[in-house]
């Protein structure tokens, strides 16, 4: 190999690498540096004062931040949990060659593709206490309207997220189901397994690796949600829907404390990093296990 050849991979990689370094890695480093400083939007970072861990400590003791952390965790876990159950359930129900399935799949993707700000807007309208669709229905059925974005705001934004993202899990679960080894399923059926037994003992265990990765991916994404909530509730009432991402943006723009916002971003990053690590480990372990299981089933049949 001559030098030109040895340089080739770097030439291919360089443009992407340069952009990612300039616009992702350097900013992340910049942020870590900024999180130790007292920094307001009117200052360049070099003009700021070093304050050590002050931002991190004051955040740790800040009830509002802890509350929004709690809101984020509640939001993320409830969303993903509900979406997994619904998505997988639907996939198991609809895993058959029905006419209209491809139409369903196409239409099901729509919510994911539409801008989050538009999704927020639609739901804000539907949840509207008087004008909104839901309360109109309820009232025409003679039931008192629900205070969707007031007392039940967190539940309401979770419902909106479920609407938007259940299809994601459904489609991935369906793909996983349809790529299961048919021989294993046939064998179990010949052995007289009921469809429940099929689902519990064969389909779900075999789908597990995909499901766990999908779930974790959704979990990571759930921490990124911001626009839908911003448009629907702007974090209110109180702090009841103020997820950390929203609080970062408010701290930076409304309270004008960039240093604190940077520290908050770092807390969020650490959580996500942990989740990503969990995801890697899980997917490796599960892959190995699934391979073994598949092999065993094949051998048995």
């Amino acid at each position: 190999m001559n030098t030109a050849n040895r340089l080739t991979p770097y030439l291919f990689l360089a443009p992407a690498a340069i952009i990612m370094i300039i616009a992702l890695l350097y900013p992340l480093g910049y942020m870590v540096y900024g999180s130790f400083r007292d920094w307001n939007p009117a200052q360049a970072l070099s003009e700021t004062e070093f304050v050590g861990l002050k931002n991190y400590i004051s955040l740790w003791n800040d009830a509002a931040f802890r509350e929004s952390l709690g809101v984020t965790l509640t939001f993320a876990f409830f969303c993903v949990f509900a979406e997994l159950i619904l998505g997988v359930g639907l996939a198991l129900l609809l895993d058959r060659k029905l006419r209209g399935m491809s139409v369903l799949r196409t239409l099901f993707i729509l919510p994911m593709m539409i801008a989050p700000v538009v999704v927020g807007l639609m739901w804000r309208y539907m949840y509207h206490p008087t004008v909104g669709t839901f309360n109109r229905w309820l009232e025409s059925a003679g039931i008192n309207g629900i205070d969707w974005l007031g007392r039940n705001a967190l539940m309401s934004v979770i419902i909106a997220d479920i609407w938007q993202w259940t299809p994601f899990i459904f489609i991935l679960a369906l793909a996983a189901l349809q790529s299961l080894p048919q021989s294993a399923l046939e064998a179990a059926r010949i052995d007289g397994a009921t469809s429940w037994q099929l689902i519990w003992h064969i389909k779900l265990p075999l789908m597990m690796p995909v499901l766990i990765v999908t779930g974790l991916l959704r979990l990571i994404d759930a921490f990124k949600v911001l626009e839908v909530i911003l448009v629907m509730t702007e974090g209110g009432p109180g702090l009841s829907t103020e997820i950390v991402a929203l609080r970062i943006s408010r701290t930076a723009t409304e309270f004008r404390e960039l240093g604190v916002a940077a520290a908050m971003s770092n807390y969020l990053l650490v959580i996500l990093l942990l989740l990503t690590l969990v995801m890697f480990t899980f997917s490796r372990i599960q892959e190995i296990r699934a391979q073994r299981a598949a092999k065993r089933i094949q051998e048995e049949s």
Partner: protein, 309 residues
Amino acid sequence: MLDKHPNPAFYPLLAALIFMAVGPIVLMLANSFKLDVDIISGTSGLIFLPTIQNYETALCDILWYKPDHLDFCQLKFGGSFINSIIIALISTVLTLVLGAMAAYALVRFRFLGRDTASLTTLLVRMVPPAVLLVPVFGLWNNDFCIGKNTSFGEFLRNIFGGRGDVCLEGTHSGIILIYVAMNLPFVIWILQSFILQVPRSLEEAAKVDGAGTFQVFFKIVLPLIQPGIAAAAIFTFRIAWNEYLLASALADRDTKTVPILLVNNVSEFNIEWGVIMATGMLLAIPPIIFTLFASRQIITGMTAGAVKG
């Protein structure tokens, strides 16, 4: 497994699901053709006199006539729409080309730093846009600037106008740069799995015929991974088209994108539901069209991106 006689209950279930998925969108579409009075007073459901007045209000700056109901054109949708198109298209094309090249390098070559590059790509995928808000805001405003007294800075100011140092903030390029960077990890990741499937023998054959690595990449590999490119393109476009947070921190009055316009008007003094729904529909139409025509690619992309994760 072919179900010859599916349970008849499945069709109502299918219909219900479709209704739930599409209902809100249809509702928005219907409302975008109603007057505010009708939306608020609740002349219910689908029986109403459709009007295009809301769309006229939204599009007033690019209409060739002046709608009667408007004193002046406040919502400058047309300009934002053009900004959105410029930003989304350029960033999509750039991301795809650079991403495909990087993915090719990671799959086909063994070189020093390959594992680091690959791992970094994976890790930065999880970074939420909100985390980038603070540093991007700071850097784009203060550090990524060209002094207005340098010759290049002067040159730019002469061409584009404006005042002060030339910074990335407020320019299309500034927003495009962050979108490309944000989308690259994902694109690299899903294209890797497609490139893996390209038979090596084809590349070898081309090389024997005297093609260089770049030629092999552009003439053989790229055409073969078209489905992957299509899927990646849709996902990149989707983010660049829909993103609000970073754009709102970086755009100025001339580079506003449609999501910014929309959010600005939602939090406005008088919510004019009809006009906002019309704006929302206009923003949603391109992704909806993509979905209807390329749902297969989207599903391929989703499975490739997630399952291999």
